[in-house]
Structures are given as C-alpha cells and as structure tokens.
C-alpha cells in the first residue's frame, strides 16, 4: 500500500489502482476539511451568527415569515424573503412610505417610544449612547416569572439576531434573540424592567425594528396565533372578542403545547 | 535454474489405504477435530476419494484418487483472487505457497479452487492430551479462521536446502526432498520430482500418453498428473460435453 512496505512488489496496476484510491480518499477528506475550514472562517469573520439566523429563518413556517408591511396593513400579503433584515431590503423605502393601517390590538400593551424586534424584545436608546433591551409585554405575559435567567456578562459581545440571553420556565428553555449587536455594558433582569444595556459599535442601523402603528398589527397577529395554538384540541380555533391577555400563561395552562408556542414566539426552531 | 516440482500419481497402484492422508496430517500438524466435524468440515490437505464407473454387479469398477493442491501454473486461481496476497507462487520451485499468518479467512480462494483442495480451520486447533508432543517442529500450527492446503511439504524442502548449503552446494539433491505422502505410500503410487528437468522420471511420466490431469480444459495447468490405463477413469478427468446426464448424476 505504501512504497516502504517490506516485500511489496510494485507493478503498473498497483500504481494505477492505488492512485485512484488515494485520489478518492484525498477528495473525500479534502471536502470534509474544506467544510470545517470554511465554517471556522465564518466564525472568525463573524458571519456565523447571521448564517445561523438565516438557516433558522428558512425553517420557519410560512405563517411566521410574514413581512412587517403586511402586518402593518401597508400591503395585502407578503412573505419576507430576507430573514426579517429590513436593513438589507431594497423594497423597504417603497413600502415604508405607504401609510400604516394595522388591525386593532387585542389585549397586549405596547409603547410608541420603544422599538420592537420580531423576537419580542424591545429597544430604547438611552441618553448616553447605550441601548436598553427588554422583553415585551407579550413575552412577559407568556412567561411570567422565569425559573432561571442566564444573562451574558458585561463586556461580552452579542450579535444582532443572535442569542442574547436564555431563560427557563417549567422545564422549557427559551433562547431570546438580540435585537441589535454590540457590547454588553450592564445587565438587569426580570425585576429591573430591562435585561441588557448594550453599546453598539458605531451608529447602529435599527431599520429592522418595528415601531409605531406597525407594532399593533404585529401584536394582533401574534395574539391570534397564540389563541389558536392554545385552543383545546377537541374544539376548533377560538378567538376572543375582547379582554386582555392573562399574565403568567405558562403557569395558568401548564399542559398546553408550550414547545410550539415558545418556538414560534421567539423565532426558534 | 528454477524447478517445477510436481507429481504423477499412478491410479492403477493406489489401493485407497489412506497412508498418504495420515502421513500428511502428521507432517503438517493437522489438528484433531471435534466430534461434530464432518467430511465437509474436515482438514485433509491430502484427500483420497473414491471413483466408480457407475455400473453395478460384475461390471462395476472402482478406483481411488488422492487429491491435494494441484499447484496450478497458469493464472493460478487462488493466487489471482486472494485479496491480500496470502498465497503466492514461489518462482524458484513452482510451489503455490499458502501463508496462514496473512490469511484473513475470507475463503474466496476456496470458491476459486476447482479441485476443492483448500480447507478452512473451522475450529481452534486442539490435540488430545499428550499428542502435542508429537507435533512436527518444522511446521507452524495454524489458528482458527485461516485457510490451509498442501504446501508440498515445504519444511522438508527447507531441510534439503539446509543440507545442501551445509555441503556447500547450490542445488538440492532430489532424494533429500521427499514429501510425506510420497514417503508413506506403500505401493509407490505417488511419484514426485522436478517437471522442469527433462530427465527426471516424473517429467518423463507426465509427458507419457497414459498421463492426464483433472479438469485440464479449464486451463489451470496443474502440476499434479495422474496416470492410468483404465479408460473409464480418464473419462472422468474432464466434464465431457457429449456425456449424457443420467450416468453422472441421478
């Protein structure tokens, strides 16, 4: 098999045969190694996070990939083809110019002062150039008091659409997506009303965050979907015609399919 | 000059006594097999088989034919198919050498051999207590899971070569190299010699009209020849295309 093997007599057929074999092995190993190197370079050049998010986004059902402009009532129907990254979207200025006409909200509060990420976090610019990040009312009503929260350390980097922090409740692990990227300056928690204070690198582009009337349309869709997901299995989908969303829903209905609800709310697989 | 060791076996002299089989087993350290071994799982590098002309009563004729490795010369089937060169043709002697230490036990050579002269070690070797003292120190014992066959008593060839080297000669004396079966045969039915030497009696006998080889039409060029004056035995050397089917197999 190798030239130095004792007593091995090399013939032309050996050379042809073993060359083909080694060529095949080299190609196979090179393919595998190439994938590893490319993956490593993706991490080094900070492309990995966006790649993971886009892979994840591609696996979301169509219902969960609706364009913000459809939810805002600007267009009739549109599925996002860009992983919710309006910063990259060429059509954004055209759609944003149309006046928003959202559906009326059902029972979840939101603020006009905050910018909202589709993963149910909000962003508030602070006076000192940092941005506060917290969980929106929808998420708070779902989770209530979390059993555990795993926040990043100060000075850690988070990346936009990456995982900002993790929470667990009733045995379910929730990965909360970061609405923007930057360095974590300080951490809060469920009691503080905010979770992270982040200092972005340079001037951040927050075009992908929802604001104003759009948020209403989006939350209405989210609440509708939540009601369908939490409907009892033997009766059809039921929608409330009024009222506010109950707090601590995970404790109120422990037997529901929280796996699906949490994954669809927090844009996870 | 390289030798081509072969045999001519006179079937008119073979009585079927089986001494060659016993001598072979003793020389080659063939182990005793467990009780459940059968004719088809036995280890018999030399095997005497019985032929008959298929007739009954006064017309019946029987003969015995010792079969061992034919040491084929042309595209030796077992050598061609062994995936790891555990069997090689020794160019200086023409002996087809089995190397048990390299054998994987895949048994492809056994399917390739048309003479069924190869045997597999289906069991671990074992001998009745005390019998291990009678083993031949010149022949290595094979482990379970490897194929073995007749090596033309290669250990005896080694001994002859050592003797010749000690006497300062390059070539061995043929009388010093006598395989165990040849030595044991009481009727002298097995002739052993160098087919490459035209004056060797075996070479002469092999070229006579009485001699034939098994399955010669397949073209493996075996170096073990047989000799008989009885036509019905010769008729069974090859598959005869004109032969009707009933007489061969009912």
């Amino acid at each position: 098999m190798f030239p130095w093997v004792d007593g091995f007599r090399w013939t032309a057929t050996h050379i042809i045969f073993l060359s083909l074999f080694f060529a095949a092995v080299v190609i196979i190993v090179a393919t595998f190694a190439s994938a590893i190197f490319r993956a490593a370079s993706d991490f080094r050049e900070h492309r990995a996070n966006e790649m993971c998010w886009r892979e994840n986004f591609a696996e979301l059902p169509e219902e969960e990939r609706r364009c913000r402009h459809e939810l805002a009532g600007r267009v009739e129907s549109r599925i996002c083809g860009n992983a919710f990254d309006c910063r990259e979207c060429a059509n954004y200025p055209n759609f944003a110019a149309i006046a928003a006409n959202p559906r009326s909200n059902v029972g979840v509060a939101y603020s006009d002062q905050l910018l909202y990420h589709r993963g149910h976090t909000w962003v508030r610019p602070e006076w000192d150039g940092t941005f506060s990040v917290g969980l929106d009312e929808f998420a708070n009503h779902l989770i209530g008091e979390p059993d555990a929260v795993e926040l990043p350390q100060p000075c850690e980097e988070i990346e936009s659409d990456g995982i900002a922090w993790r929470m667990s409740k009733n045995g379910h692990e929730i990965r909360v997506r970061a609405p923007l990227g930057g360095t974590v300056i300080s951490t809060g928690g469920p009691g503080a009303g905010w979770y992270l204070k982040v200092l972005p690198h340079g001037q951040p582009n927050l075009r992908h965050l929802l604001r104003g009337p759009e948020v209403q349309g989006w939350l209405a869709t989210e609440v509708d979907r939540l009601q369908v997901q939490l409907s009892a299995p033997n009766c059809g989908p039921c929608l409330a015609d009024g009222g506010t969303l109950m707090p601590e829903l995970m404790d109120a209905e422990p037997k529901a399919d929280w796996d699906t609800v949490l994954a669809s709310a927090f844009l996870d697989s | 000059m390289s030798a081509r060791y072969g045999m001519v076996i006179d079937l008119d002299r073979c009585t079927g006594c089986g001494a060659c089989m016993v001598a072979c087993a003793a020389e080659n350290n063939v182990p005793a097999l467990p009780e459940r071994a059968t004719a088809r799982t036995g280890l018999t590098p030399m095997l005497v088989r019985k032929l008959s002309n298929g007739k009954e009563g006064a017309e019946r004729r029987e003969a015995f034919i010792p079969i061992a490795c034919m040491h084929c010369e042309h595209e030796t089937p077992c050598v061609m198919v062994c995936p790891q060169q555990a069997v090689e043709v020794d160019k200086s002697t023409g002996i087809v050498m089995q190397i048990p230490q390299r054998c994987l036990g895949c048994r492809y050579c056994m399917t390739a051999c048309p003479y069924h002269a190869r045997y597999f070690n289906w069991w671990d070797p074992q001998w009745p207590a005390g019998m291990e003292k009678s083993l031949n120190p010149g022949v290595s014992v094979r482990m379970r899971g490897v194929v073995e066959k007749c090596n033309l008593c290669h250990a005896r060839l080694h001994a002859a070569q050592e003797k010749a080297a000690a006497a300062g000669k390059k070539e061995i004396e043929l009388k010093d190299y006598v395989p165990a079966c040849v030595e044991a045969c009481p009727t002298g039915a097995i002739l052993f010699g160098n087919l490459a030497d035209e004056k060797d009696p075996v070479s002469i006998a092999a070229r006579s009209t009485d001699s034939f080889r098994l399955l010669a039409r397949i073209g493996t060029e075996p170096k073990i020849h047989y000799k008989t004056t009885q036509a019905w035995i010769r008729a069974q050397a090859d598959r005869n295309p004109d032969h009707s089917s009933e007489a061969q197999h009912g």
Binding site: A48, K255 | P77, R102, A112, R239
Partner: protein
C-alpha cells in the same frame, strides 16, 4: 396533539406529526429484540468460530455472502439517487434523497458488519490494505466499499445535524451549511466508487475460471458480470428505495412524498431493468454457447438438479425481469400504486435471485466429474445475524424518520393539507 403523548417532543421538528412516544417504542421493541438476537448470534460466531454456521469447505460462501451482495445491490439507490439529483439535476427526486442516504448507510454498514463476522480473522481486515493484490476483485471491493462507507457516513452527517436540538449548536449549523454546499462533490465520488464496487462484486464470480457456472468472458480484465451487476444494482436501487418509502408511509400512516416521485423512481428502475434483461440475455447466450462448452461444461451440468432447473434462469429473465420492467414503465400499470409496488418487489426479488444463483448455486454445482450436487441450509446463527442486520436498518430508519427531516415538506406547507 396532547403534550403528554410525546415525551421526546423537543427532539422532533416543530410542526411535524409523529406518533406518541409509547407507540413508537412499541414499534421499535420487536426490532430491538431481533437486533439483540442477531448480536448474540454474531457473538457466538466470533467467540466459538465459524463452526457455529453451516458453511463448510464446499460451501465456503453461504447465506451471509448472498445477503451481503443482496443488501449492497439494494443499497445502490443511495449513490444512484444522489447521482440523479446532483449530477443529472433531477430535482424532483430531492424529497427521497435523505431517505436514500439512510438506506445506503444502513445497507453498507450492515453488510460490513456481517462481513466482519463472516471472515475467519476479522482483526486482520486491514491486511488487504497493507498488501493489496490488484489482480483480485476482492481487493477492489474492499477498498471501494470502505471508502464508500466513509462517503455515506459523511453524507449522513448533514442530515443528522438538521435535528431540531443539534442545529441549535452554532458550530454544527454553520458546518452543516458549508458541508451541504460541497455534497455534489461527495455524490460524484460516491458514484465513481459505487460504479466500481458494484461491478467488482460481479467480477468476484465472473473471474472464477474454476467455476464454469460463474465464469464469463468480458472486456479487458472485467468479466461481463462486472457490467451486469452494475446494471442490475442501478436498476433495483430505485425500486428498493420506493419500497422503503412506501413501507414508511404504511407504518406511519402518512403520505410522505408525492405519487409522482414513486412513478419516476419506478420508470427509471423499469428502463434500467429492461436494459439489464437484454444484456443478460446476450450474456447468457454467449456463456452457454461459447464460454462454457470451451471448458467442457454444458447447460445440463448446471440445470439438471432439482430445484435449480433452468426455471431459475427463466424466472430471473421474465417474471422477475421483463415483467416488473413493463409494470413500472407502462402508464396503464405504473400510475396505479399497487402495480408499481408489485413491479418494484418483483424487481428486487429478481436481483436477489441473481445474487443467490451466483453465490450459493455456483458452489452447489459440481466441478469435478465425480463430485455431487451439494446442499446447504444456513444455521440459526446465520439467519439470526442477517435478521439482526435487517432490524438494525429498520431501527436506524425509524429513528431517522422520527427525529430528522427525512422528507422535508415544501416550505410553507400547512400540515393539515395532504401532499397528494
């Protein structure tokens, strides 16, 4: 679905319908028991030696070799489907590609496992690599199958990494993304390796000049069985894949792929099968009229023994050769699922028969004029080991179906809408 029925819900893709954990375990139980029995039987053979089988010096190859050849022919669907999708750009076969990889992986790894028990000294398996004999078809088989098994394992990795929980690990997801882009390279290498080893498996018997029943002339160093085995393998691969997917649909009670995928697999299989039957007819004519008489053998030497009469040859060509080809090609029958699956089953049976004839029947037939026709029945250890391999395949496929996206639904499909 009620939450409590699926204890392993977190591992199952979101939105995927799966039966309850309890009924899945119930399904797995008999297969696990069969696998256990197979491992025990194999253990007996490894510990006590091959005297545990009914193989002997005349039947040096027995049920296991026949089973190996059969399994590898069935597993040809893996490389061939990959070839069709990535090299010939037949995109409509994409839904069954992941299934094909799983089938191929289990077929080849199972065959290699059986081979390790079949050889007398499994720890010496690497000797073939150290001292390869390039004249031997078995060397070629060893090299190619080892290499190809590696390819199949690597092709399975991206499927594995798409598991719901595994894909949450960023390095796995990024690696899967990058590796998936290079899969066509692996598919090409796999096709190359498969071409050679499927052929060499046929070459194993075609070169045996000591067994005129198997010996064939051919092209250069390759006997005709080399090419016939490749043809029959690519013909039966899609059929077997179709049967596996249909079986999965039956067991899970769901439609997993469009009916058009089945029709396409059947059509490809049928066409290749028809070509194979034609080639085999030519080969048989040459063999019986030229090759075999030259060494003093004739058809009566092969077909006079019950039950291996010429009916076997006839069966391989017509009811198990041309008939299934016609069933899978003609629109009148191919559009009906029952006929299509019938054709696929007959095709697989025909190829298995061909493998059986070349292994077991070859050894049963006498070569020496004074030899008899021999009989062989496998021992329970041999049957159990082979049963264990089948169980292994079913278990791996079942686990892959439950936890991995074997049949990725088109994006945006509502799970309540049938795919038909």
């Amino acid at each position: 679905m009620a939450e409590t029925m699926l204890i392993d819900r977190r591992w199952i893709a979101r939105g995927a319908e799966r039966s309850s954990t309890a009924s899945f375990l119930l399904w797995l139980t008999p297969w696990v028991l069969l696998l256990g029995l197979g491992i025990y039987a194999a253990g007996l053979c490894l510990y006590y030696g091959l005297n545990q089988t009914n193989m002997d010096n005349r039947f040096a190859f027995g049920m296991w070799i026949f089973a190996d050849l059969g399994i590898i022919a069935m597993g040809a669907g893996a490389f061939f489907t990959g070839f069709l999708v990535y090299i010939l750009k037949q995109e409509d076969l994409k839904p069954v590609l992941n299934s094909a990889v799983v089938v191929g992986l289990t077929c080849y790894s199972g065959a290699v496992a059986v081979l390790m028990v079949d050889v007398g000294q499994p720890l010496r398996a690497w000797f073939t690599f150290w001292y390869p004999n390039t004249h031997s078809m078995l060397t070629e088989v060893t090299f190619c199958i080892s290499c190809y098994l590696l390819v199949l394992i690597l092709e399975y990795i991206p499927v594995l990494l798409k598991n719901r929980q595994l894909r949450k690990i960023p390095s796995f997801l990024v690696f899967e993304h990058q590796f998936h882009k290079l899969i066509p390279v692996l598919a090409g290498v796999g096709a190359f390796l498969s071409f050679f080893h499927q052929g060499s498996l046929g070459g194993l018997y075609g070169v045996l000049r000591g067994r005129p029943f198997a010996y064939r002339q051919g092209f250069a160093i390759w006997p005709s069985t080399f090419f016939l085995f490749i043809l029959s393998a690519v013909a039966v691969g899609p059929s077997f894949l179709m049967l596996v997917v249909a079986g999965a649909e039956k067991v899970t009670g769901r439609q997993l792929v469009q009916a058009t995928v089945f029709r396409k697999l059947g059509f490809i299989s049928g066409v290749l099968l028809a070509i194979y039957v034609a080639a085999k007819a030519v080969d048989t004519y040459i063999w019986l009229n030229i090759t075999t008489p030259a060494v003093g053998f004739g058809p009566w030497d092969y077909y006079s023994y019950r039950p291996f009469s010429s009916a076997f040859l006839f069966a391989a060509m017509l009811p198990l050769g041309l008939l299934p080809a016609v069933l899978m090609i003609l629109p009148a029958t191919a559009r009906k699922r029952g006929w299509l699956l019938c054709g696929a089953t007959l095709a697989c049976t025909g190829v298995l028969l061909n493998r059986f004839v070349l292994t077991v029947q070859t050894l049963a037939l006498p070569t020496l004029a004074f030899d008899e026709f021999l009989k062989y029945t496998p021992s329970w250890q041999e049957v159990a080991t082979f049963g264990g391999v089948i169980a292994y395949g079913v278990i791996v496929y079942s686990l892959s179906y439950r936890y991995l996206p074997l049949f990725e639904a088109p994006k945006g499909a509502n799970k309540n809408v049938s795919l038909g």
